[in-house]
Amino acid sequence: MSGGGAGVLHSEARVSVELQTPEMTLNIGPQHPSTHGVLRLVAKVDGERIESVEPVVGYMHRGYEKLAEVRTYPQLTALLNRIDWTAGLANEVPFVVAAERLMGVEVPERAQYIRVVLTEMFRISAHLLFLSSYPLELGASTPLMYALREREHVLDLIEGVTGGRFHPNFNRIGGVKPAAGGGKGQRSVAQDLPRGFLEQTRRAMAKVFEVCDDMEALVRGNEIFQQRTKGVGIIPVEKALEYGVSGPNLRGSGVRFDLRKVEDYLPYDRFDFEVPIGENGDCFDRYVVRLEEIRQAVRIVTQAVDGIPAGPLRARVPRVIKVPRGECYVRAENPKGEMGYYLVSMGGRGPYRVKIRSASFSNISVLPWLLEGALVPDIIAILGSLDFVLGDVDR
């Protein structure tokens, strides 16, 4: 720093030191709080600028596609809800729907509504986690407390219904988990949703709505947050499509596309909700899209709870489930984006082949392109804004 008087002393001596910025390889991860699991980035940097980045994945690879070939259909839901562990039940749904489609099973309405309610609750939970962790990665620790407090209410409701907070294993082929408890004699009386669930859900949803407003005031309008995220990590639409970037990341780039509007894996056409989009495709837009999506999910849950029909929880299916020969692809709008299963059955008790299309895999495959030319301090802002889960990348 040159003070006021110091300028006189140095006026003749021009400093002409060329900064030496040889290319340097910077290793980020595998253990790093912003990587949401275990991801390693090998970055070649020139000073503060990134020349190239190579993500190294596979630390969480559990071989689900191979395991799926040696398990039976009922056993598989217990595995699949661990793919994206922030979205538990939402991972099970497209798989059981694929099997039901091949079997020609009609799922009772009440079960479908329960699937909708729980899927959207997991979406709220996953997005609230993002709303709390993303500002934290950028240095704001307060929003964490607000968002996680409401997330806890949602998780409690999920636990009340399914018995699990993260890995519900609640879907069955033909519906949802039937009677638990009551003993053998009362098995015909299926245990349904816990008493008071509908009323508590309405109350919790109102709270979630409020926390969205808090987040809006605390984070969205914050100048530091905006400076860190606006104009940073822009994904143009063509690049997003080519790389298969989906979900809120795609909508952040301004594409109004939501699988809940075009696919019929769950009866979303009966609910009134909007598909929020961004304008610029930067980190800020991806944040705002997720914030808005929580509000829309709250709308869906409220409508589903109000209109939930009475009836059985599970269609009649054989005790030993065999899925007839056939192939089909069922995809769903999960919190992270397009999640799908290409299921090939040869008529046995287990699949012949399952291709798992997970959203985060494609969402981070765009990283080498996206981070090229970015600044090192922006890495964390960009990584966080893509909101990936490494379990969902590696499967």
């Binding site: 080519e242 298969g244 596309f257 509007k261 696919e263 599970r314 192939e327």
Partner: protein, 184 residues
């Protein structure tokens, strides 16, 4: 399983003349010859710009397929030994999409890379390459994506036995589902 715009099938039959269209359980599959794999994608990219995934199936005749059929059930017909490579592309307005499929002989598992058409095919092809041992010709960097250095074999081939299943058969003789305790 969306209602397909009537235009898609016409466009496909025009753009990919050699493709064989089939539709079951709401999933459209277009079989194309191996030599026209890349060209078919290029012809459809304008209409279906979203690259969803790419993977393969190891069709193996000598492996028990699912469970042995019950007496009286129709027996599974002979499976032709081959790799089937699948890719799914779709659009982002109507939800239209299809699965492209091509067959590779097992003794010559090579296919032209899609990376020049869809950049997103990069990681998917790397995964399929290490899991099935398929060579994607023209891929810029066909290094292993998941498997550690020095890993031998291609895990998703049917001939690659899962170690834990060899040590201990499971679920074993006792079928938890058949043992009851469930509804229906």
């Amino acid at each position: 399983m969306s209602a397909h715009e009537p235009g898609l099938r016409d466009l496909v039959s025009e753009a990919v003349a050699s493709g064989v269209w089939s539709e079951e359980f709401g999933t459209v599959k277009l079989r194309v010859p191996r030599s026209e794999w890349v060209e078919s994608h290029r012809a459809l990219k304008g209409r279906l710009p979203f690259f969803s995934w790419l993977s393969a199936i190891d069709w193996a005749a000598d492996v028990a397929v699912g469970d042995a059929p019950e007496p009286g059930e129709e027996t599974a017909e002979e499976i032709e030994e081959r790799f089937e490579v699948l890719s799914r592309i779709s659009d982002v307005s109507s939800g239209d999409g299809l699965v492209l499929s091509t067959d590779l002989p097992k003794d010559d598992a090579r296919l032209d890379s899609l990376t020049a058409v869809y950049a997103g095919a990069d990681w998917h092809e790397r995964e399929a390459a290490e899991m099935f041992g398929i060579d994607f010709v023209g891929h810029p960097n066909l290094a292993a994506l998941y498997l550690p250095d020095g890993f031998e074999g291609h895990p998703l081939r049917k001939s690659y036995a899962l170690l834990s299943r060899q040590v201990k058969p499971w679920p074993g003789d006792v079928d938890v589902e058949a043992a009851g305790g469930d509804e229906t």
